[in-house]
Amino acid sequence: MKAIVTVVGKDRVGIIASVCTQLAAFNVNVLDISQTVMQGYFTMMMATEISQCSIPVAELSKRMEQAGKEMGLSIHVQREDIFQAMHRV
């Protein structure tokens, strides 16, 4: 099962490191990362494997959102299926 993690916020040192550390703590494997900085805003998308995740997906989503708030970032974890459904026939 895959999930897409999106991270948006003001750019600063260590965003990728802290997000990856959080994900690793829940045994989430990062498969792919794409990242840009637009007008000082950091935008990152990660494809992750969550089959071995140590907590339920709904809980992971809540924890990451909370962790994002503490870092001044907007973090969403969403099952990949929703994007596939909406953008692939």
Partner: protein, 452 residues
Amino acid sequence: MLNQKDILETQAMIEKQHLDIRTITMGISLLDCCDPDLQTCCDKIYRKITRYAKDLVKVGCEIEAEFGIPIVNKRISVTPIALVAGSCDTDSYVEIAKTLDAAAKTCGVNFIGGFSALVQKGATTGDWKLIRSIPAAMAATERVCASVNVGSTKAGINMDAVAEMGRIIKKTAEATKDDGCMGCAKIVVFANAVEDNPFMAGAFHGVGEPECVLNVGVSGPGVVHHALQQVKGQPFDVVAETIKKTAFQVTRMGQLVGVEASKRLGVPFGIVDLSLAPTPAVGDSVARILEEMGLEVCGTHGTTAALAMLNDAVKKGGVMASNHVGGLSGAFIPVSEDEGMIAAAERGTLVIDKLEAMTCVCSVGLDMIAVPGDTSASTISAIIADEAAIGMVNTKTTAVRIIPALGKTVGDRVELGGLLGSAPVMPVHSEGSEAFIARGGRIPAPMQSLKN
């Protein structure tokens, strides 16, 4: 892998354009709960609903969190109570309404639909008992929704039931006067009611449905509005294509959530209702879509054509996105629940006569309309008869959900709160229809050929 643009587009739809799943509704058959003893019947009903729907809200919340898509309402619909209670030895079905209310509260759902009777051709003793229990049932409960089907293309219109429903709506307004006549917001009078509608207040679990089923209603006026802002001034061919593509995306999401929820609940997936359901929030209005097409204010000349195109494009786009489509499928125009409709009604551009014309080309009918408190029962019945006639002749579902705002008149507003919004009191014709309604009987079913 998915590209960034697609991911960001989906997130913008959800966060900025109010995209959501409007409802997942579990339909539960209560046909095996019949019992001559009222209390036993109530016990069976309560036990069955709370057993089948105990995880509905929990599963809904889990899916919300995992997919990052809000599921605004989790609801239950049941077999029309007039059928279930027909064998009960009682004169009033209010106790059953209270049982439904209690079951809804236990399950954590915000509405339960099915306090209903289907009387398009004639009413049984049980049907009349149910209809006459509606005012007290609406006053005694918080989450129960009632509906009565008074006409159909095959049966014609039961004018005795139409006349009675005018009086019932007035009585319900009186019974719930202290609560902004709220009871009337939970009563729908249908023609050609559908058996798999997930939307309240008109949802019930039809007799042709399985033991238990899960239906989904999607929403997304904000998404369509946003998409149309990108094609300003373009011809209608482009507008229709844009709406179709958007409706496809919205419906795919509904299909995904419906299948996932039914899998987790162990209940068969029924249908996706291809709907554009507005909310009172700014940016979530059907009226504003019509205005985006070039109308100065919703309700002016051109509104019916704009709505016809919107409604058709929503269906065309949505139908390929789901393996089973049903319910009321189409754009909803509930006045009190749509910020743009409220503004147009307050301005006087959107009037009941125009809304009636609009209902010929879109989903459902005269929905969430407040009229002056002194509107007579026969005038309300006549409004219902007009709407039922449109449904009957055009082979479509129509409905009336009308609120006689006691103590209020044109220019006032009725505050209903939450998703029900606030309804500006709209003028009705002062000339009476009393003798017309007093005739009773049945309007015969219409010709299905010689269409003109």
